[in-house]
Amino acid sequence: MSENKLHTLFILSDNERGVLARVTALFSARGYQIQNITAGEINEAQHLSCIAITTEGTAETIAQIKAQVEKIVAVRSVVNLTEAQGAVQRELMIVRVRRDAPKHDALVDTLNELDARQIAADEESTSFELTGDTRAINQYIARLNALGAVEIARSGIVGMAPVKLH
């Protein structure tokens, strides 16, 4: 048995009612964990959606999960992004800094240093967006939280399989 590790599965599916529910129901019914999940329509004309799920398991468990998900009628393909050479994965995070935050200036300096993009501002706060792979996002979060009061939201993984696997 190989070791437990995180894998992200990229699921291309028909954009039918209940697909997401079927995928998550399968995970809970078979006792698999969902670390994070993102989903959205990607081609309205072709009724296509994509779902990315991160889960933990041995290579054997992940192969079993992949085979189970592929059985779902609306699912067209499943690619393990973690194993697929050339796959890309990103997360988006949004950071809001209040003007009265004790370390306001340090926070903004850090965000600028990280190439965060300002996306909104009002009298009370400024909001930034940042993207990166999960490891980078985890580092950003650690750095920002170390500077105290800051609000953070993150998207979960959005990914794409390499061309040859489509």
Partner: protein, 596 residues
């Protein structure tokens, strides 16, 4: 709501015609080749019942409880190889079919369930008899859909039939709001639907995996075939027989696979697993090559996984990729239809002019003969009390010439039927294996009898199980379906009592069937024939009367209340730790205690 006189009837209107949603349902079923549907009406499905009323090609069988409809459809499907169909109303009608759907999901039975739903504009309002049908049935169907647009109805139904019968078969539910049944839409014929989910099916004899499998088989000294329900699904019993005889290897079948190989063939070791024969289980333990075809390494087969067939190379043929390496890691996994794979293996075996290692095989068959000599299905005979095994043997004896279809309920009687009733052909054995649903047998028998009006159909039942769907006797009487219910009445939930005796210190908690009805009077109350045998010398004549009677019969066979079902591998124990008779020690490990 009658159509204008000039409009053709909805069953003969050309494809492309505009029909009512309810008419589309009946038309689509007819065009899918459905002749019988089992159901129960209610408010949300009345338009479909109205359409059924106005035609006579699709025959509706009215059950007494929707669970009965579901199991009847399963029995119909298993005995014919066709898709079984169910029609129910929203809310409680649908929830009553949850058990049969789960059952069909487990046992890979193709089934279509059509449920009425509250009108679209009321969905989500807690309307009368509203239930979240797709939500509730998501985990017990292979696929389910809520159809909100009448113009998608025909295509959806055709696709659902394809899904139900292809790949690993299973139940598919179509939920249809009442306004969609009343709406008008275009009917499309099955052949106009082009976009289907594809499932693995074929495999070429030249495929490297077939070569790898045949390599293993050629090198084997102690090979065994282990086959299951997938061979029945694939309609591949004849191919299996050819492959087994070409190789000369012995074969064992799962509970679900019985009938795929003739019981009296010398190579047949009978059933394996928890209540399988000594020779089958020891062959599994000691083999060097295992050829698993259309079976799924269920925990009632493997026993203790860590000690499951420790020294064998394993080949696994399954149409479901997720079945391979799920419970047991195999050396050669072949994702294909069982029939296709068997034919490919046989073709490759013949092309190579292959021969089994004859010295090895002879020694192996000799060993098996020694195990067989234990006669693990033997039981103590009695002159004074009917032994349940004896009752089943006599039933088999008197019905042999009629090639009967046998269904069962769940419990000891089910296992005794599997052990003592010989099957020579597929599709004659209907039993709930994966879910183990008490109450399955009578409706399943009814479903089979509907499909085979001239066949002798017998439900081998327990007195506890039969009470779970006994109301279906009324269905049998209404449609003059001459099913025979053969109750192995031991006054106990025998299988539960056996576990309590062996594993729970003889504390018989709530397993005695108190206040049993008088089954003879009960049969009569329903308008069926009731019979009873209490002594061994009464048995033969009761069986003869039962078979001779042209209508439904319920026979109450009073058997030894304390008989146990052996052999038995206690849950979670390895294959060699088999209990053969009362008094043998039951070595139950802490892990085994957790198993069911």
């Amino acid at each position: 709501m009658s159509a204008p006189a000039s409009a053709p009837h909805f069953l003969s209107a050309p494809a492309g015609s505009v029909l009512l949603g309810a008419e589309i349902v009946v038309r689509a079923l007819r065009d899918q080749g459905v002749e019988h549907i089992f159901g129960y009406p209610g408010g949300a499905i009345l338009p479909v019942y109205d359409a059924i009323f106005q035609q006579d090609e699709l025959h509706h069988i009215l059950v007494r409880h929707e669970q009965g409809a579901g199991h009847a459809a399963e029995g119909y499907a298993r005995s014919t190889g066709k898709v079984g169909c169910v029609l129910v109303t929203s809310g409680p009608g649908m929830t009553n079919v949850v058990t049969p759907m789960t059952d069909a999901m487990m046992d890979a039975i193709p089934m279509i369930i059509i449920s009425g739903q509250v009108p679209t504009h009321l969905i989500g309002t807690d309307a009368f008899q509203e239930a979240d049908t797709t939500g509730i049935t998501r985990n017990c169907t292979k696929h389910n859909v809520l159809v909100k647009d009448v113009n998608e109805l025909a295509e959806t139904i055709h696709k659902c039939f394809h899904i139900a019968r292809s790949g690993k078969p299973g139940p598919v539910l179509i939920d249809i709001p009442k306004d969609v049944q009343f709406g008008k839409g275009v009917y499309v014929a099955p052949d106009e639907v082009t976009k289907y989910k594809t499932y693995p099916y074929a495999i070429a004899a030249s495929d490297p995996k077939i070569a790898a499998a045949v390599d293993l088989m050629q090198g084997a000294k102690r090979a065994v075939f282990y086959t299951g329900g997938g061979v029945i699904n694939a309609n591949a019993a004849n191919d299996l027989r050819a492959l087994v005889h070409a190789t000369g290897f012995p074969i064992t079948q799962t509970l679900m696979g019985l009938g795929a190989f003739p019981a009296d063939d010398p190579l047949n070791l009978g059933m394996l697993g928890m209540h399988g024969t000594y020779e089958a289980n020891l062959a599994m333990y000691h083999c060097d090559v295992m050829i698993c075809i259309g079976a799924r390494f269920d925990d009632r087969i493997t026993g203790k996984l860590a000690e499951f067939s420790p020294n064998s190379k394993k080949i696994h043929v399954d149409v479901d990729a997720a079945s391979i390496n799920k419970n047991v890691r195999v050396d050669v996994g072949i994702v294909a239809d069982a029939g296709e794979a068997i034919r490919a293996m046989l073709a490759e075996w013949q092309r190579r002019n292959a021969k089994a290692d004859s010295a090895g095989l002879a020694k192996w068959l000799q060993k098996i003969q020694e195990w067989r000599a234990k006669d693990s299905l033997a039981y103590e005979h009695s002159e004074t009390i009917i032994k349940p095994q004896y009752a089943i043997e006599r039933l088999a004896h008197f019905t042999a010439s009629q090639n009967p279809i046998i269904s069962t309920e769940v419990g000891q009687h089910q296992m005794w039927a599997a052990q003592h009733f010989p099957f020579y052909a597929p599709n004659r054995w209907l039993t709930s294996g994966g879910l183990g649903t008490m109450g399955y047998g009578l409706p399943a028998a009814i479903g089979a009898q509907v499909a085979h009006p001239d066949a002798l159909v017998i439900d081998i039942a327990g007195e506890a199980s039969i009470q779970m769907n006994i109301q279906e006797l009324s269905t049998a009487v209404q449609y003059n379906l001459p099913v025979k219910v053969f109750i192995i009445n031991n006054e106990w939930m025998g299988m539960v009592r056996q576990w309590q005796q062996l594993i729970h210190g003889e504390r018989y908690s709530h397993s005695y069937s108190e206040a049993l009805p008088d089954f003879v009077k009960l049969a009569e109350a329903y308008g069926a024939l009731g019979l009873r045998a209490t002594r061994p010398d009464e048995l033969d004549s009761v069986i003869a009367q039962m078979i001779a009677h042209p209508g439904p019969v319920m026979a109450d066979i009073r058997v030894d209340p304390k008989e146990n079902c052996f052999p038995m591998i206690p849950s979670g124990a390895p294959h060699y730790a088999m209990i053969l008779k009362d008094g043998d020690i039951a070595p139950v490990s802490p892990e085994g205690l957790m198993m069911v």
